[in-house]
Symmetry: D2
Subunit: 293 residues, 4 copies
């Protein structure tokens, strides 16, 4: 049994913390809004009143917050994780943030004797609930190994991909591919519908060939039904694509389709669909094809 501070008990964080409790750990949770903490206590965890309270006796600290500035505040501020963490504590940041911020956070941790890994996850709410997340981990090999037992509790695929920040870089690539796959499926669906094709049959055959994808397997039925309850929200995917396009520019890499999809996600958000599932890119294709009238 390990004492684990879990900061950020949202759609993703709550079920992840729950699995760690189920695995026998002593989980002390903190979240800005109190009901999420209460839910954790009902699940068998303990409540903390602030970050410092959660962290000060933890051997492992897991953070799962929305964006780079959130991580900077929660971890680096005077009331943050590193101000109260025990020397030798292991910090696992599961948030999806900028690779450069992840490296900055890791460097700050090292100075204070905290071991840090960046461990963003893929798989969405379903993956979090089913403990089948894919987790891409950046950091020192021994720290990643130290984190692995906890990550294995919430994920099905846990892979060490490189040094500090590498997890975030891989997550950025992941988000480009996922957004692109959704958009391609959306274009294919609208194209097939416009031609009067039976899309259920068509998707079966597409899925059986080289066009098959996890997006098709998991999202196509809901897209055909115009069911866009998140899942993973457009607003967050838009944020992630901003990270990815910035990281590509930083590296001098051309990502023509990635950048194009980022514009489409931007447009989807701008048209008021930020709260929908990212598969709502279908709505944009319909709109651009005059099929929403």
């Amino acid at each position: 049994m390990t004492t684990i501070a879990f900061i950020g008990l949202g759609i993703m964080g709550a079920p992840m913390a729950g699995h760690l409790i189920d695995a026998g750990h002593d989980v002390v949770g903190f979240n800005r809004s109190r009901p999420a903490v209460d839910a954790l206590v009902e699940r068998g965890g303990r409540a903390a009143s602030c970050v410092a309270d959660a962290v000060h006796e933890a051997e492992v600290v897991i953070t799962m917050v929305p964006d780079s500035p959130d991580v900077e505040e929660v971890v680096l501020s005077p009331e943050g994780v590193y101000a109260s963490a025990k020397p030798g504590a292991l910090h696992i940041d599961c948030s999806t943030i900028r690779p450069d911020v992840a490296r900055k956070v890791a460097a700050a941790g090292v100075k204070l004797g905290v071991r840090v890994v960046d461990a963003p996850v893929s798989g969405g709410e379903a993956g979090a609930k089913e403990a089948t997340l894919s987790i891409m981990v950046g950091g020192e090999a021994e720290d990643v190994e130290a984190a692995r037992p906890y990550l294995d509790v919430v994920g099905a695929t846990v892979v060490h991909v490189g040094p500090a920040g590498a997890g975030q870089t891989v997550k950025a690539a992941n988000q480009l591919v996922v957004a692109g796959n959704i958009q391609l499926l959306a274009e294919a669906l609208v194209f097939l519908e416009a031609h009067g094709v039976d899309t259920e049959a068509a998707l079966a055959v597409l899925g059986g060939g080289l066009a098959g994808s996890t997006v098709l397997n998991r999202k196509a039925a809901a897209m055909r039904a115009r069911e866009f309850t998140p899942g993973f929200r457009v607003d967050l995917h838009h944020k992630d694509l901003g990270i990815a396009t910035d990281a590509a520019r930083e590296a001098g890499v051309a990502i023509p389709i990635g950048a194009h999809v980022a514009q489409l996600m931007e447009a989807l958000r701008a048209t008021g669909h930020g709260e929908l599932d990212h598969s709502a890119l279908l709505l944009l294709v319909e709109q651009l094809s005059g099929r929403d009238l």
Copy 2:
């Protein structure tokens, strides 16, 4: 045992005809270049000296040729399939061609008492050899059912998607999705390499999450190794994307990413890579990122 005329014994056609022989059918083959016919005879088939010779006593005629004009010539010309086919014969066109040409061919067949289905395939040379093709079939329901026993011999997924031409429409959508998936994977790989990430590990984790795809499973290792032996050639995929963008324009459907990928495939071909596997889109991304120097 059915007498089957098989016209077009190329990379795809030869193994497909072979499977039909193995399944006990009497396969009479014709190909413009003689060695392909000789190879069929060695496999246990019979040789025809021209289309008419192959077709005149066949109950089933299968055509597998490169492009729309080839189908028009092989099927509709005075020396073509329909001039010699027996009344009631079943014509299965496995070529990938324009949906409007498929509809025109089907209409011509119906006038002459030939039953016609369009049945383009997905899965490439490997799928043809392993008899695991995905086959999207357009035509009258009873004709599709008549064709199914033969298609089941060469394919793992055989689906009736709609009336005449619908198979080609679905194939066009398939080619858009496949090209897009390859391009996205290429961008992700160059992005990850530029950031110094271990791409083998990264692809493992991408494949385990929502970014997973058949393209990633089948193509990523060769792409990492810069191994671009076809497989499916850029020239052909370029042709197919022309069909897809035309079909989208005809239907008034916007396919922003599809059209963009078509331009990239065009560029890949223009830069002299038409003979490589379509996964060579990676070379274009490298070139655009200055990583080919």
Copy 3:
């Protein structure tokens, strides 16, 4: 004074025919709808009851119709221009059509002893009314010189750009550039408005520098006022971009931005704005930015 048959008295054709009358020529007009012919007679021209009637005694035949199939019908059909034209007549096709169709028409004319030039125009309704059109002419040098006196009556810039079809090729390039310039101006306007900038002042300074363009000079004020009366209709520009992207594919040329703009024009048309001026691309940018709510 030359007897000129003028076929196609629409928004562009009517004022062009009028200028030729004003210049002292004997203009015999035909149009599918009769009121356009009556208007020409009032202007001082003569009425023809059919193409043959217009053409049979003409030394010069000018055609100005919407699209490639229209030209093929009006010119090549048994009741068309070439069936009735005098040997040695000069045919000036001012329509905007496919370069390959222009070459086919020219070849057909040559066989029958008709001299043919393709002479598509740029400048829109205003240019036609003010006789300030830009005219890009393809054909044999001596035929182009023979056509020049008539073209000078309706245009301010008349340039011989190459052999048969070359005028259409240049027009295709023209339409790519114009559509792109409009789209860029639309993006700039929405961007500036979203940032609260005084766009009238901003456009003044953009126009004074390297961002200046004829599109900015002629279209920006109406775009700021959301005034989209054509001018040149989205439907026609969409048709022209289809010609341009096909011609690029035929030549193996990558036109990434041109193809992208063609998709946006397609989307604008699909969303029901085909009858507006092409500067309505602004509406699409607003829609994609959620600023149309």
Copy 4:
């Protein structure tokens, strides 16, 4: 006669400072590399040994440096402009930087009693030498009027476009439009050349119609001749497009073509052409069309 500190005597700054000397002002120049300062002295100006030395008795301070971090250092650092400027001095920043940094600089100036305007310029080296720059000015109306006499010395079009930062926003829009216009012209040229058209004639007619632009007038001849001596460097335009795409994202505005062109400029730079004139986008189009072989 006004005492003017001029910081940054590069390709743009040197001729601008020269014009101010010619207009009778007392110009004290500073530049990191000494030869540029010596050249100013020869022209009739005075040399400063550091920023503080240049600024401490100046009524007007003009800065013309490459990028946002340069402005922050030159202006805001302890050895910077604001640490030494006289109360009531007028600071005119002609650099092209991020609008948010411009606003931050202006706010810092106001606190210290310095009046600040952002006044980025368009027109390139030629415009600087000929004193025909377009200048887009952001700031308080009275400060802009105070700056106008000095800006009129170096520019032909000086326009107040809004509050602090607005000049930079307009410059960002300007750079999007310019890059797009160059790219469109490059695509048109390669397209026309591939079709064997006489491009000199074609450009004459394009320039006379709705496709006309300042880019065409000033750049087309050099592009036809493959002459890419800057002018304005790809590296700088790439930087500016990063500012523009960030500013668009910040405002929630979709700029599909702008973002696409930014990718192409990125690719041009990545392929080793960062030092060429931005019209070298033509090389990229040639490369993508296989016409560089």
